[in-house]
């Protein structure tokens, strides 16, 4: 990475310190609360699968039963494994069925019973975490067997709503050069308080995230990885009301990257802020363990706010995501911080402004695999203009050493991508990378010139905003519409009823493994 902006290092340090100060109260809250989805994730990591006749997962049924019986303040593990032991059930599935029929009895065990429940739970979780660890090893084996794609990684979306249409489209994209495939989720999924089951074909503008869909797609891409001699990464969304569970499933099915933002659900799905912050910490602990790269969602702010006016909100949010991410155990190499090429193309010098923003973020986070998003807001029905704008996005991406390029579609203003749109988009980025990939070597912003000035200004604005957030508190700032000019009060939004204050005896065997980095698998985090 070249430094081109002569940023003031003192200001950079101050920005990071402020982010830590603003974030700490949120971490404290997350450490003292749990959520229904976190508890369901514990059960899923222990191997609970399947759903009742209505499609409601057994994980939900069991957590509901325990909630009514004992409350969740001690976590689901203590009462669940206690019931397993004392009730003589053949596994969590049987227990959940019984619980659903109102036939299971739950209590908060104490003394030896508690110790027995804890031990059994730990053993069950060790198996799940072990599978995550094994997947991590297997990912590395697959990479060794095929190859690690060169940077920037080419990231493409499939979004047919039907896993069986998605698969061939994803494979076609990989053959044409995609390094990362993201399967977009159906519009409604983030508001569902459960994870659907099985292979699905009926999503709207995206395909449901299910464990089976994950498995099918990963298997297909393993095949294609071998075919093309390049490891094709699979991405999905650990977001919405089931963020922790989806994170668990991603770890279990060897997904490679996950969209996982500390605030996206709050702002763009009206999910309760507390719920989101608590969930994201647990989800990130799993991602950290699984060697998954997270992708944050700052790009989205620029679809509701103006990309020039709100440039500093992107930086502020990235610093917060970085703080929360590291606190949860993610390494720099797992922090796919998001940003986007969303400046109005009619603005004079718009490309120079984009370069300034992209380079600023590159220099602020030199070791993060930055994820750079293409233009969406200013894409119209003019597919030729769109193709052009996407090319300049690609160019900005290679000139500023972005790590992951989400490839823009010329039809962004019209429909979810057609097969041919994706193919043309890949031709676009291939040309730019091949023809101008080394243009960065000659990209030297004039000292004190337009680009450097702009970067300094955005950094300055970021520090000023962070100071304000420290003063008022992050939840208040979010309520005031700081991000994406969308106001989200701390006590509104969906899912607040799923937030529970931990009791003093709270027990979460998954967290125990994740927080203490216990040696279920010995392999080092790379």
């Amino acid at each position: 990475m070249q430094t081109r902006l002569s940023l003031d290092p003192a200001l950079v340090t101050e920005a990071r310190d402020l982010a830590a100060r603003a974030g700490q109260p949120i971490v404290d809250m997350a450490r003292t609360h749990t959520t229904t989805s976190i508890e369901r994730a514990v059960l899923r990591l222990a191997g609970l699968q399947g759903a009742d006749a209505d499609g409601l997962p057994w994980a939900n049924r069991l957590v509901e039963a325990i909630t009514s019986a004992t409350g969740l303040q001690h976590g689901v593990a203590l009462p669940a494994w206690d019931a397993l032991i004392t009730g003589g059930y053949d596994g969590l599935g049987q227990l959940a069925e019984a619980a659903a029929e109102g036939k299971a009895a739950f209590r908060i065990p104490v003394g030896a019973a508690a110790a027995a429940a804890r031990a059994a739970a730990r053993e069950a979780l060790a198996a799940g975490i072990g599978r995550i660890d094994a997947n991590r090893v297997q990912r590395q084996q697959m990479i060794d067997e095929t190859a690690e794609p060169s940077r920037p990684w080419i990231y493409l979306i499939v979004a047919t709503g039907d896993i069986y249409e998605d698969i061939p489209q994803a494979q076609a994209a990989a053959r044409e050069g995609a390094d990362v495939i993201a399967v977009i989720r159906s519009t409604g999924q983030s508001l569902l308080d459960y994870v659907p089951e099985g292979a699905t074909r009926e999503g709207y503008a995206g395909t449901y995230a299910t464990q089976e869909n994950f498995r099918l797609m990963r298997a297909a891409l393993d095949q294609t990885s071998r075919e093309v001699g390049r490891y094709i990464r699979l991405t999905n969304y650990a977001s919405g009301l089931c963020m922790p569970e989806i994170a668990a499933l991603a770890g279990l099915e060897r997904l490679d990257m996950m969209l996982n933002d500390c605030m996206y659900g709050i702002i763009f799905r009206d999910i309760n802020p507390r719920r989101t912050f608590i969930d994201q910490r647990f989800a990130r602990q799993i991602h950290a363990r699984a060697g998954i790269i997270i992708n944050t969602g700052e790009d989205n702010y620029l679809t509701t706010a103006d990309a020039v006016d709100a440039a500093h909100t992107v930086v502020v949010s990235q610093l917060l995501n970085e703080f929360f991410g590291k606190e949860a155990g993610l390494t720099d190499g797992q922090l796919g911080l998001g940003h986007a090429f969303e400046i109005n193309p009619a603005l004079p010098d718009s490309f120079l402004l984009e370069l300034a923003h992209a380079q600023l973020i590159r220099e602020l986070f030199p070791d993060a695999p930055l994820k750079y998003m293409p233009p969406t807001k200013h894409m119209t029905g003019n597919v030729f203009a769109g193709y052009l704008l996407d090319a300049f996005f690609n160019l900005c991406g290679v000139m500023t050493d972005q790590s992951i390029l989400l490839i823009g579609m010329m039809t962004e203003g019209i429909h979810t991508p057609f097969l041919a749109d994706r193919d043309l988009a890949l031709e676009n980025v291939r040309y730019v990378r091949n023809a101008a990939g080394r243009l960065g070597d000659s990209f030297v912003p004039a000292p004190g010139g337009f680009i450097q000035q702009r970067a300094a200004r955005v950094l300055g604005d970021s520090v000023r905003l962070l100071r304000r957030i420290c003063d008022q508190g992050l939840l208040t700032a979010i309520a005031a519409g700081t991000f994406g000019i969308t106001k989200r009060p701390a006590d509104a939004g969906r899912g607040l009823d799923g937030v529970i204050v931990r009791a003093s005896g709270y027990f979460n065997p998954a967290s125990d493994f994740l927080e203490t980095d216990s040696p279920v698998a010995a392999e080092a985090v790379r």
């Binding site: 979004a159 709503g161 061939p168 494979q171 076609a172 053959r175 044409e176 159906s186 519009t187 409604g188 508001l191 709207y204 503008a205 763009f268 799905r269 009206d270 679809t303 509701t304 429909h415 979810t416 057609f418 097969l419 041919a420 193919d423 043309l424």
Partner: protein, 262 residues
């Protein structure tokens, strides 16, 4: 050829030139496959009326699909006299005029309830219409003194919308739909209209139903069971003027109507 009959124009009047692109699920590997694929593309082009047609680009995408770009001449005539332009059936008013019209017709504020329904979370469009900030230099409906605007935001389920509209005694309900894959926008709009219809009961009295979004056909109101459809590029002033005309014509209370020529 009279002025009413026109043809596509490439570089000479009447040359009829058009460009077409599409994908066919046919392979493009061997020479025979390629010839067959191009033949298939030309067959489709012919069915679309291109004669002559020229496949200027063909590219295999994976083993099963081929993308084509075709240029050609169509013989189709466009008869401008047969184009039915749905003229705006209400006058464009200033904010003051809108306010005046509402006050004289209703004697109270007009209540507008807005939402993105279903699982659609695209609020930028409806916010552009409702928020004070507005769109394209025009202030949104919140700015109108004689309107009371309740913006429910996104992802509102239809029953919830009906309940809130009833509770607020809404005169008009404004619904946005941006996601159109699998015609989600159409089915959601129909479902919403049906729910208000059902809620209205025997009197048939329901608020004015307005839907909007970039991929709606403004001529589709009747087929969706709503009173008015706004498409891409709508401005708040147009919506305000429409509402003023709707209340102005019928007097209070607002009666659903699809014919507002004034």
């Amino acid at each position: 050829m009279t002025g009413q009959i026109v043809r596509p124009y490439g570089d000479t009047t009447g040359d009829g030139r058009v460009q077409v692109s599409f994908t066919l699920p046919v392979p493009f590997g061997t020479a025979t496959e390629r010839a067959r694929a191009e033949g298939a593309a030309l067959q489709l082009a012919a069915k679309m009326g291109l004669d002559p047609a020229m496949v200027v680009h063909a590219k295999g995408m994976g083993p099963d699909y081929t993308f084509f770009i075709v240029y050609g001449r169509v013989a189709h005539l466009v008869d401008l006299s047969q184009v039915t332009v749905t003229e705006r059936e209400f006058p464009l008013l200033s904010a003051a005029e809108v306010n005046l019209r509402i006050r004289s017709a209703l004697g109270r504020k007009l209540v507008v309830v807005g939402a993105c329904i279903g699982t659609d979370a695209h609020t930028v469009g409806i916010d552009a219409i409702l928020n004070v900030k507005g769109h394209a230099g025009e202030k949104g409906l919140e700015y109108y003194r004689e309107m009371r605007v309740v913006n429910l935001g996104s992802q509102i389920a239809v029953p919830e919308l009906v309940a809130r509209a009833t509770a607020e005694r809404a005169d008009a309900v404004l619904v946005s739909q941006v996601v159109t894959q699998r015609d989600a926008h159409l089915s959601n709009a129909r479902q919403m209209a049906a729910a208000f219809c059902a809620a209205a009961g025997p009197t048939g009295h329901r608020p004015l139903l307005v839907v909007g979004g970039p991929r709606f056909d403004p001529a589709a109101a009747a087929s969706l069971g709503v009173d008015k459809v706004f498409g891409k590029g709508t401005t708040p002033g147009e919506v305000a003027s429409y509402l003023a005309a709707a209340v102005g014509r019928a007097g209070a209370p607002v009666e659903p109507t699809t014919d507002l020529a004034s």
